[in-house]
């Protein structure tokens, strides 16, 4: 399990990470490139618009200036006589040609009295102390003075005043005042082209507001003062982004500031960043999922394979047969090989098990067969002796016992026989031996009630009893052999006890060791029983030997009860 997870990690994590890094870099690069592109493009466009607005202003003021120059030239060369009517008709002509001129009038520079005016207007003369346009023109005789824009109900207008020197006699110096319509220039660039809140603002050189569509331009002024002239800048005003262009207006002392809304640029940048980030994220996520899917298709079968391999530990060779593994061809091939290997192993194991079984059976048969001839010869010898002595009754009884004994021994070829039969078998044996050895010993057999249902491997009591008779009986004493069968916990317990010579502890120890040691052939009978119950009942079955010198020997056979409930199948 840990291995497959690390395969997934090894593949998915670094790969996803580097891919994500790549995507992030691409997104960043794209954003930066797009940002600088769109910014420089829109800046260039806005600069062009600004320059267009400025060009309109320049053209407009150039035309204003030409008018002013014409008047100045004319005044210098005009004869003093008839100035009034000459200029009035000149003014009327100019105004008929130039629609942007609203009013023209000429004043004496010395006393401010009206010299001439266009027919339509009614000037009342200039005050020598109050009228700023008049005073400024006198102060700055070389330049055109522009008065601030006035907004009337129907138009914007501004005034131009210019000092006119009359060289031959300075007492005839004059000041001309021309009112221009500013509405046209304001309307040339509709504010809609400058975007929401876009506008242009005119300041004089001390940053007093000359013209603005808004009343309060304090915040804008800060930016304009910072920029002064010429260059442009991106600014934020009242929550909107603007492109600000500031410069001087030719032939005037005015400053022009143009604010163009660039919210759309900012929002385009933002939405582009958002969209490309989302796309990038989507690409990374779907890449990771695809990768994860692919890796799963590799790692899942391997995981399944490893789970099945883990089942080998529990010796379940049939595990592979249950699952069909899908995956890459390598993994399928691996699985097929594994399945083949497992089924081959299963076959081999089955063979091994049946082989072992056969071996066990034949061994069992052989061991059982070991017993019979040995006893038969002895008994037949005893019968011959009885017949020789003419004790025919005894001989007959012995033959009957022998016959029963063998019948039980054979038990129709069954290895496992009812427990009572086995007891009966031992009894017949004891009877035979008792007769053979001339009643030199007595025996008791106790079977606890309720043992009728049990079956045991046959010929387990007789060899022990044989030992007791053969080695256990003291000469000159009446030996007693006791056989007891009962239940002890999960076990059936058989107790074979004698009161013979017994054995030294070292001998007991030697005997115990010989039981499980296959290379030692001592105590043929006991070992034979031990091996047989071990073969049949497994390691739970046991044979215990207790012995004390000159007291007797006690052999206990323990058989697990649940293994003894059925006869031979």
């Amino acid at each position: 399990m840990r291995k497959t997870r690390s395969i997934r990690k090894m593949l998915v994590v670094p790969s996803s990470f580097s891919f994500a890094l790549l995507v992030v870099m691409m997104v960043l690069t794209a954003s930066i490139l797009y940002g600088s592109n769109i910014t420089s493009h829109s800046d260039a466009q806005m600069l062009a618009t600004s320059e267009q607005v400025l060009a309109n202003y320049d053209t407009y003021f150039k035309s204003v200036l030409i008018t002013s120059s014409e008047i100045a030239s004319r005044y210098e060369s005009a004869p003093l006589s008839d100035r009034e009517s000459a200029f009035q008709s000149y003014f009327d002509t100019v105004m008929s040609l130039k629609s942007e001129i609203l009013d023209m009038s000429l004043y004496s520079a010395t006393d401010g009295s009206v010299i001439a005016h266009n027919t339509a207007s009614e000037p009342s003369g200039a005050s020598l102390t109050d009228d700023q346009w008049f005073l400024s023109a006198k102060d700055n005789q070389q330049i055109n003075v522009f008065s601030h824009l006035e907004k009337t109900s129907e138009d914007y207008r501004f005034g131009l005043s210019k000092y006119l020197a009359y060289a031959p006699d300075s007492s005839f110096d004059a000041v001309v005042k021309v009112d221009f319509d500013f509405t046209a220039i304001v309307n040339i660039i509709p504010e809609s082209t400058l975007g929401v809140g876009g506008r242009f603002i005119l300041y004089d050189k001390d940053y007093n507001l000359v013209y603005s569509p808004n009343n309060d331009e304090t915040e804008a002024l800060g930016y304009v003062q910072k920029l002064v002239i010429g260059s442009s800048n991106a600014v934020k005003l009242n929550g909107h982004a603007y492109y600000l262009y500031a410069t001087t207006v030719a032939n005037t002392t005015w400053r022009l500031a143009i604010f163009q809304n660039r919210d759309s640029v900012v929002s385009a940048l933002t939405s582009f960043s958002v969209v490309i980030s989302c796309v990038g994220l989507g690409v990374v996520v779907s890449y990771s999922f695809i990768l994860l899917g692919t890796v799963n298709r590799i790692s899942k079968p391997i995981e399944g394979l490893s789970q099945e391999m883990a089942m080998i530990e529990s010796l379940n060779y049939k595990a592979t047969l249950h699952s069909e593994i899908k995956g890459s061809s390598e993994v399928v091939e691996l699985n097929r090989s594994f399945n083949q290997m497992m089924s081959r192993m299963g076959e081999l194991t089955d063979d091994l098990v049946s082989e072992k079984e056969e071996q066990r059976k034949s061994e069992l048969k052989a061991l059982q067969n070991q017993i019979n001839p040995h006893f038969l010869y002895n008994t037949l010898d005893s019968i011959i002796a009885l017949v020789d002595k003419g004790e025919n009754v005894k001989a007959e009884a012995m033959i009957v016992a022998l016959s029963k004994f063998f019948r039980l021994s054979i038990s129709s070829g069954h290895n496992v026989i009812p427990l009572l039969n086995e007891i009966e078998h031992a009894r017949n044996y004891l009877l035979i031996q008792k007769m053979r050895f001339g009643d030199s010993f007595a025996f008791e057999i106790n079977v606890a009630p309720g043992l009728e249902k049990y079956f045991v491997v046959k010929l387990i009591l007789q060899p022990i009893v044989e030992n007791s008779i053969g080695h256990g009986l003291k000469e000159g004493e009446t030996g007693i052999i006791k056989i007891k069968a009962d239940e002890e916990g999960d076990y059936l317990r058989f107790l074979i006890e004698d009161n013979g010579y017994g054995m030294t502890p070292s001998k007991v120890e030697e005997l115990r060791r010989s039981l499980s040691d296959e290379t030692v052939y001592k105590g043929v009978g006991l070992k034979n029983v031990f091996q047989r119950i071990r073969i049949y009942y497994g390691p739970l079955a046991d044979v215990q030997v207790e012995s004390e010198e000159d007291v007797g020997t006690k052999v206990t056979i323990l058989i697990p009860k649940k293994e003894a409930l059925h006869g031979e199948e």
Binding site: G35, E51, L54, L65, A167, G230, S231
Partner: protein
Amino acid sequence: MAKNRIRILALLPLLSVASCSSKGTYVGLYVYDVSDVFMSSFQSEIVKDLEDVYPSDTVAQDGAGSQATQNAQFVKDLDSGKVTAAVVNTVDRLASSALIEKAESKQVPLVFINREPLQEDLRKDAWSIEHCFYVGGNPAVEGAEQAEIARSILGSPSEFAASVYDKNHDGKIQLAILKGEQGHQDSEGRTTNALEGLSDYQVDTVKSVYCNWSLSQAYAATKALSGENIELMIANNDAMALGAIQALQEADAAAGVPLSTFSLRHYPIIGCDGTTEGRKAVRYGYMTGTVLNDYVSQSKVVVDLLRYLISNEAIPTYDSTVEVKGNAYYVAGPKIVAEP
């Protein structure tokens, strides 16, 4: 915004390198229009003089007649930080106050040439009084000298009526004036002072026309005057005087009149600036006289002022040819007439 920051961060090392390498003194030079003959000579002279003091490969920036263009050039250079001081020949003298404001924000001293800022702009605050100057010709002297040239030809007011120059014998001078540009201090100053110098004559100004310092405009204006009785022409500069001469010469050529009789057939024409072409015309007798607008001396004054502004050298003092008024230095030049 973030992107801007990134870009600015990326540029920072470059900027610092750039500012280090241009640590030396660089004097920015801005000319209203290098196609103007006089200004072209003037700016070459300044570049030449600067080489000796602040060698920095100064190249004059051409405003090409647009104040907006000049504003952009000026602001770009000042913002880049490479300019130690600037010499400016504005397109529009009224833009000076904005240029001073910008220069003050960058602490770059200015010397204006040829187009004089209003005194109120030049001395608008303590900084500008310390750091902004004007150097140009002396229009009052130039105008007066033009009048003197006229007087030496026309004779005294009492003699004039009897001279050949009073063509219609009315005792008045029929005068045509070719003016530079409206609002230019030299144009207005020269005209006013020339007329003042002739105020004891009876002057009848037939025509006063702005030709924007331009030969071709003066040529057209002079053609328009044909048929009028003109007894004297005063031009604010040589280029316009030459335009007038060209118009008259072409009319003569069309009529089959030889050039040698030019000065006898036409009215005296007086120019100003003393350009090479102008002096040639004087030598040949087509132009009666001109007044030197002494850009060589003016250039010296400009460099002197720069040395004061940049290197804290003593503020220069001059003889009577240089009139100092506030922050303005007016350099007078001699009149140039044909050798007798």
